[in-house]
């Protein structure tokens, strides 16, 4: 019986239609639109201006705060403009627009494919290299990795967890990199272990990726303190708190970070980016993006440069199919719907899904029949029907806090399972932000 997290979870159809598509390099762009808001925290500040010539891997944006990091050019050419452009939600964000000329890389980047095992750097040097390479969490949240790998002095990391679960339906980018580049991932994990100064590492992979389990296990055999654990297929296995529960049985307390139970969780993609940053001096300028969907004739896993417009990706698969009703950046459970097709990929973009109307159009809302499916599904043990009811009344912030609305990880299991088609997460998400705002203001006042 494979391990898994102990509360809640759902079993959507996995639809890993693209799992056998090898990673292919996306064709060179004409123009790249690189956003300055590529990560959680403060956006980067541009350090180039119109007319500057840039190479691949050159810094074009610098961090502006503690939780911030560098942004590098993913192409070589001339900066056409530094101006606000719409992100996928249509909100204006500062972008650097580059006219692509050739594909010239910065000299310090080692482009060879050789596997480099030696890690001659100290913990501090590793963190510095990761920061300078602009590595962010590629599990979706895009939290600057060098900050996560450097916990505050009063918190001790006990083990590193590598998240190879890829629990969302459709996405296969992690699966492919685990199959095609397992050594780099495992060395990246070893680098991060050194940075964190821990001697234990778990690599969790869901059982629906048997080839990846085999290849990672083989690669990890070099490192006796790394343990590959096959996990039961259940969504959201890859949620930080759920993964820690499944692998170690420890539960992260409310309002706390995983470091509180000694855990640091990183995605396999981040691990690969760390390897490239530390061993090859290559900053984070590309990522594997799965392009798939029931209406897509050919499923692909593209290695895409940061700053590629979604419209370009659609052209590469022969245009958007006529029955594609919704484009989603990321997975279908937590990804963002694309409102603006001219938006471009970010560092943490992992997939572009084309969903049909039949599978995604919302149905009309009915009365709550108190079936409890949402409670059974919630991996945090909350009661979504009650959070929804309290939110709709309005002003019930104390009660919502008592019902632990701040624990919600916005995984979407509740909305997915509701037979009455109540848009639970839509309402809880907004309410949660309001309650957390109140809680934040309260602690600031103290």
């Amino acid at each position: 019986m494979k391990r898994t997290f102990s509360i809640g979870g759902i079993h959507p159809q996995e639809n890993k239609l693209s799992r056998e598509a090898h990673i292919e390099t996306f064709p060179v762009l004409d123009v790249a639109y690189i956003s300055m808001a590529q990560h959680l925290g403060a956006p980067a500040e541009p350090v180039v201006q119109k007319g500057d010539k840039v190479k691949v891997g050159q810094v074009i944006g610098k961090p502006t705060g503690f939780i911030s990091t560098f942004v590098h050019s993913s192409v070589s050419g001339t900066v056409k403009a530094v101006e606000p452009k719409g992100d996928l939600a249509g909100n204006p964000v500062m972008h650097i627009v580059i006219d692509v000329e050739g594909d010239e890389w910065c000299e310090e980047i080692n482009r060879s494919k050789d596997i480099v095992r030696e890690i001659p750097f100290s913990s501090e040097e590793i963190l510095e290299k990761i920061k300078n390479a602009g590595v962010v969490g590629l599990g979706g949240a895009a939290f600057p990795t060098h900050v996560k790998l450097n916990p505050p002095k009063d918190k001790k990391a006990e083990y590193l967890i590598i998240n190879g679960t890829e629990c969302e339906p459709y996405i296969t980018s992690d699966d492919r990199i685990m199959r095609e580049r397992p050594d780099e991932i495992v060395i990246g994990a070893a680098i991060m272990m050194k940075a964190l100064k821990v001697d234990k590492c778990y690599i969790g992979i869901e059982e629906n990726k048997p080839e990846a389990i085999v290849s990672i296990t083989r690669a990890a055999s070099h490192y006796p303190d790394m343990k590959v654990v096959a996990l039961k297929k259940k969504y959201p296995q890859g949620g930080e708190k759920q993964l820690i529960d499944a692998l170690t049985g420890r539960k992260v307390p409310s309002l706390a970070l995983p470091i509180e139970v000694g855990a640091v969780v990183q995605n396999v993609g981040t691990s690969l980016a760390v390897y490239e940053a530390v061993q090859k001096n290559k900053p984070l300028i590309d990522n594997v993006v799965t392009v798939t969907g029931n209406c897509v004739p050919q499923h692909r896993n593209f290695l895409v440069r940061v700053g590629t417009p979604f419209s370009k990706i659609l052209n590469a698969i022969g245009g958007a199919p006529s029955d594609a009703a919704k484009f989603v950046s990321g997975g279908p459970m937590m990804g963002k719907a694309v409102a603006n097709i001219e938006a471009s990929t970010l560092k943490a973009t992992s997939a572009l899904l084309l969903l049909t109307e039949a599978e995604t159009k919302r149905k009309e809302e009915g009365n709550c029949i108190r079936c409890g499916n949402c409670i059974d599904a919630c991996p945090m043990g909350l009661e979504p029907y009650l959070l929804n009811k309290l939110s709709r009344i309005g002003g019930m912030y104390d009660e919502l806090e008592k019902e632990k609305i701040h624990d919600c990880i916005e995984c979407g299991c509740c909305l997915y399972s509701c037979p009455a088609h109540i848009p639970l997460l839509d309402i809880i998400r907004v309410s949660k932000a309001e309650v957390m705002n109140i809680m934040r203001n309260r602690s600031v006042k103290k």
Partner: protein
């Protein structure tokens, strides 16, 4: 049989007396001393508990008004001048006259004027939509049309016109309590003076994008061209962030700005119909006779 009835009656009477004595004593023990004027003032108030005065209900208003030295800073929009006068008399003070106001929607991006660029499929609430993305049209500032303001209005004064896709205020019912202003996530509702003979002029747009972008998104958007400000003899119009704003205290309702506006973004309410000639069009009718187009 009859004894049962007698016993029952006696029992009930004794219990009733006992409980009434206990309740009376408890009520006296825990009585909260309150200024008797608070009750008098509260009885004069409409009792809607709408919060339009900015306080938590009519009782709170009554308490604060009695405690305060002057009632000048208090105003009940539902009761209006009539009720404020009565309260002033009851407290032995002079009443203060304030100008009646009304809620004004600064957006006219109907389906005809403003094309949809995507189809929102989530929970139909402006708050949810605004927190998610920039909206389902090319204008990220305008009315989202899901009616959060309609749900919050206690006076049935604001309605969502499903056919046109924007909200409209019924000026007869609006008491300017400000609930809709607070709830609108795009902040496009403003409380403006009703004006002499209920006439007012305002820029019905909240778009701060550059003119070309605004115009592409909506045919009646303010493009920030500044023609209105130039022609205004009373310096009532300012342009900030590509958006014109008319200061109600300076506006004399001459409507010269409306003739100048190339996109018909400025609206005049409750004026008689006027036919004008503008540089861009041969003949245009003044938009809005009375809250309808």
């Amino acid at each position: 049989m009859i004894t049962t009835i007698i016993y029952t009656i006696v029992c009930l009477v004794v219990l009733g007396l006992l409980f009434s004595v206990v309740l009376y004593l408890v009520a006296q023990m825990f009585k909260v001393e309150e200024d008797p004027r608070v009750d008098i003032v509260e009885s004069l108030l409409p009792g809607a508990n709408c919060g339009g005065c900015g306080l938590a209900g009519c009782h709170a208003f009554a308490e604060d008004v009695v405690k305060a030295s002057s009632i000048g800073s208090f105003y009940c929009p539902v009761g209006g001048d009539a009720v404020m006068e009565k309260i002033a008399t009851a407290l032995g003070q002079e009443a203060v006259k304030t100008e009646p106001r009304v809620a004004v929607i600064k957006c006219h991006g109907t389906f005809d004027n403003r094309a949809k660029t995507n189809c929102f499929d989530g929970y139909a609430s402006c708050k949810v939509m605004a927190s998610l993305y920039s909206g389902d049209t090319g204008c990220k500032y305008g009315c989202l049309g899901k009616g959060d303001c309609v749900s919050v209005c206690k006076f049935d004064a604001i309605h969502l016109d499903e056919k046109r896709g924007i909200v409209e205020v019924d000026e007869e019912k609006c008491v300017a309590c400000g609930a809709c202003v607070k709830v609108c996530p795009k902040s496009i509702i403003e409380l403006r003076p009703k004006g002499p003979k209920n006439r007012r002029v305002y820029v019905s747009c909240s778009n701060k994008d550059k003119g070309a972008i605004a115009r592409k998104a909506c045919s009646v958007s303010c493009i920030g061209c500044g023609k209105c400000a130039k022609v205004c003899a009373f310096e009532a119009i300012t342009i900030e962030n590509n958006l014109a704003y008319i200061d109600a205290s300076k506006c004399k309702l001459c409507r010269k700005c409306i003739d100048e506006c190339p996109t018909n973004a400025i609206w005049a309410v409750n004026f008689p119909l006027k036919v004008a000639v503008t540089p861009n069009k041969v003949e245009v009718q003044n938009p809005v006779v009375k809250n309808e187009n």
